[in-house]
Symmetry: C2
Subunit: 570 residues, 2 copies
Amino acid sequence: MANALLIACVVSVLLHAVGGATVRRFKWEVGYIYASPDCEEKLVMAINGQFPGPTIRAKAGDTIHLQLKNTLHTEGVVIHWHGIRQHGTPWADGTASISQCAINPEESFLYRFKVDKAGTYFYHGHYGMQRAAGLYGSLIVDVSDGEEEPFQYDGEFNLLLSDWYHTSIYDQMVGLSSRPMKWIGEPQSLLINGRGQTNCSLAASLVPGSSACELTSKDCEPVVLKVLPNKTYRLRIASATSLASLNLAIGNHSMTVVEADGNYVEPFTVDDMDIYSGESYSVLVTTNQKTSSNYWISVGVRGRKPNTQSALAIINYPPNAPSKLPESSPPATPLWNDYARSKSFTYRILARQGAPKPPPNADKRIALLNTQNKMDGYTKWAINNVSLALPATPYLGSMRYHLKNAFDTKIPPESFPSDYDVMRPAKNQNTTQSTNAYVFQFNSTIDVILQNANAIAENVSEIHPWHLHGHDFWVLGYGDGRFQEKDVSTFNLKNPPLRNTVVIFPYGWTALRFIADNPGVWAFHCHIEPHLHMGMGVVFAEGVENVRNVPTEAITCGMTGKMLINNHLP
Amino acid sequence: MANALLIACVVSVLLHAVGGATVRRFKWEVGYIYASPDCEEKLVMAINGQFPGPTIRAKAGDTIHLQLKNTLHTEGVVIHWHGIRQHGTPWADGTASISQCAINPEESFLYRFKVDKAGTYFYHGHYGMQRAAGLYGSLIVDVSDGEEEPFQYDGEFNLLLSDWYHTSIYDQMVGLSSRPMKWIGEPQSLLINGRGQTNCSLAASLVPGSSACELTSKDCEPVVLKVLPNKTYRLRIASATSLASLNLAIGNHSMTVVEADGNYVEPFTVDDMDIYSGESYSVLVTTNQKTSSNYWISVGVRGRKPNTQSALAIINYPPNAPSKLPESSPPATPLWNDYARSKSFTYRILARQGAPKPPPNADKRIALLNTQNKMDGYTKWAINNVSLALPATPYLGSMRYHLKNAFDTKIPPESFPSDYDVMRPAKNQNTTQSTNAYVFQFNSTIDVILQNANAIAENVSEIHPWHLHGHDFWVLGYGDGRFQEKDVSTFNLKNPPLRNTVVIFPYGWTALRFIADNPGVWAFHCHIEPHLHMGMGVVFAEGVENVRNVPTEAITCGMTGKMLINNHLP
């Protein structure tokens, strides 16, 4: 009976058209299940018993009404709709401590928001490190009726990429917050649609003398993409990894990139592509290879010395059996630290003709220096020497209702010392923690220079994919070394791509521009889960006084909870 | 600096005398630490960085003001003050879903309650299975100034006993709630004051050919009780185990039992004693043995086929070094299923002369049949065929404010079918779940017959220690088989012991009497953590209309939270 219920829940996408706009209704329950994503049984945070969670499929302009029930035993939960801008519904952004109170066990929360732009998105937990526990799934928005994508394809597949650890997120969180810090290490496996292998791998089984992979569970069988020859397929690819930067390649097939983060890009063709955590892409693949073989899709690690086997999926041409191993070995991932190659790929991403252009000038520019620091023996990441601490009362409520002492109201630093040497470890590695937030004038245009630097250890500078909530931004440019005023002249104002996630390369900078036109409070942070946990993020706010209709349920905690009940005791 | 802060917290027992009554103030933070209770490093739920949590020491009549801050990352928390009756402060009983809303991460809650009776108590988490994660500590109440204990001693030691698992409580909770149920198994170790050994043990090192114990951490060094010869010591012993029933013995020394659950008992002398989860005792031990040796204290498993090594502590006579191993082997635990011996010990516990006597008659009697059941493929424990489900809104608030639909208002069954054969598995093993509660007339006298039965498997009936919140009860009698009306004539009304926890033996019954004189809502449940998680409990309520001054913080969740803010949106 519970099974039947569960199935009923999963398929309960109720459509409801109101005045032309379609409301898509979902009833979800978050809870742990036992699953074996990489053939080893672990606790996995699931939705309606599914891992990854159900795919949401909607059309541009639809409204989602999603009732989320928390069936975890003692933990709160929220879900962030990554890439959805939440115009008019900032309280539905699903970020604990920022847009809403975590949903308590056995309680429900109704997420209501509009998906206004076709594209490839995903959703994930945004409380503690719950994303890394498996709380994620795909959110795909098709063009609205009567509209057409600016490219053609015959079919599509969805590949949600992630990484997977065998230690619990509780262990990971406590370790990262310990003194000395206990680093989580490299993931035990990479997953494609929640499936991967560890210790052994399909790839390894092709190498003479290596151990074949024992598939102990259906959960870890490789994903098979059944194609027909001479067709063009759209592959939707998104990365919800906790740590890993990824590279994806398909044996014998090239890929034409056409979409990034829900925005069309000028098509370009590659043999392999990088995907950083928080990014999504669409690529077109034409099945023009000989049909006597299947082909590997291979996903490997970039940017960190890898200690994790590649994840594999199979492109299955008829009449081959899906289980028939491809003739060629899986494509090898490029050298992990071949940053020139990564930059080359990233720099090729440009807006498709006709895409919205950025305002020619910014009203304000802030520079955010990314550093790894020590704080009283703890290891932190800090932005302009402030490591983000999240307040007990979510900002959206406390700012909207002008509560005092809910967070640190000191204006955070908008730049960093001009003599800071980004190529070397900081002279003074001490940092401080704060809950302070950047408050922008409503509708102003903001430039952000993300500046990478050397970490604590000599000769180490890591890749950080930064993700902005509530907005897309234009990526105006990248550079190596310290950003300088003269770099402004190199900004691409002609066809900068619109994105919600952008990477900073080691020792480099990335410039982006956005319009602070979305009343609310928005996280802007490194999408690497342990880095955010260690404070690598900032909070942006704009036009909060214009926020209307915040549901009570979103703010019944902390000081806003107290405010709501003040003087109203029965 | 954080260290200094921590120490400041730990010692911050601020005394404050108001009109003769002393207020003892504490500031606690609950959070995970890494510790090695049995030499293997694991996450442990700690208070102010300590495991077990700090010992509270107060005098009868004192008031405790304890501010508890939750520093867990995503989980709520509460603490139950086990054995403290909470007269006038039912909201401070620390049971999630019953007496209060769980305290959210980064939030604090002020527990205020009076410790009105000297005795040996403890405290522990009462949300999910957080007690099993290590959230417990001792609470010791001395007689008030000018009063004297009815026995003499020269010094005292405190032994808080527990068991310990290497799998996380998340794993345990999900496993128990899975279909089919995944049983947690026997604990990996037993702990004395948070210290034990696994795989190897100090005891094993004395047996030729066995492996010596490798003490990998100071955390798992055995507790040493430094004594002087020819003195009498009070040993305070309490059990916070998740599963294990225990037996404690001291090499060469006998023990005189003088207190049970904060009530004086008629002294009796034993060589070893049973302690069930939720119980506490004081025993007097005289150090009258030869001083050339140290002596073992040994704690082993009772009532379940043991798969866990004994825990050991050392009684250290001068001038021996504390590390000098005792000459004799540790006392052996009696045969696990020698129930006759267990009954013999338990039946000897009687009230000390002059203790409060029970009312001669009860106003109402209920019989509670304990069965193991199936529910739609899940394994449950049920009481009169109802398995306890806890509501999202704590009962205390929803009952006090007469909220509709907060829980099932159907009156739960007050007896079970007269033809139920307690000696065999149930003919129909199906059960149902409910949030319903027993509501007693205020100030009425209630008799409860706890009736044990066969579990699902043939020839299995387990020990269950039942703990009542908010009250002590008189234990009127025990018997084997099914309780019968004629057994009433055997009730001990002369000197029944007052307790807050009592055991039912396999296939047996236990009769108890209490006065429903404490306005509030009170859990009455099997103190075995996985059994309670599987529904083995009931909820008692009385005089809720008389409850006053419930702090808002205790009810700002669920439907009471909504009630508080209703029509009061800013």
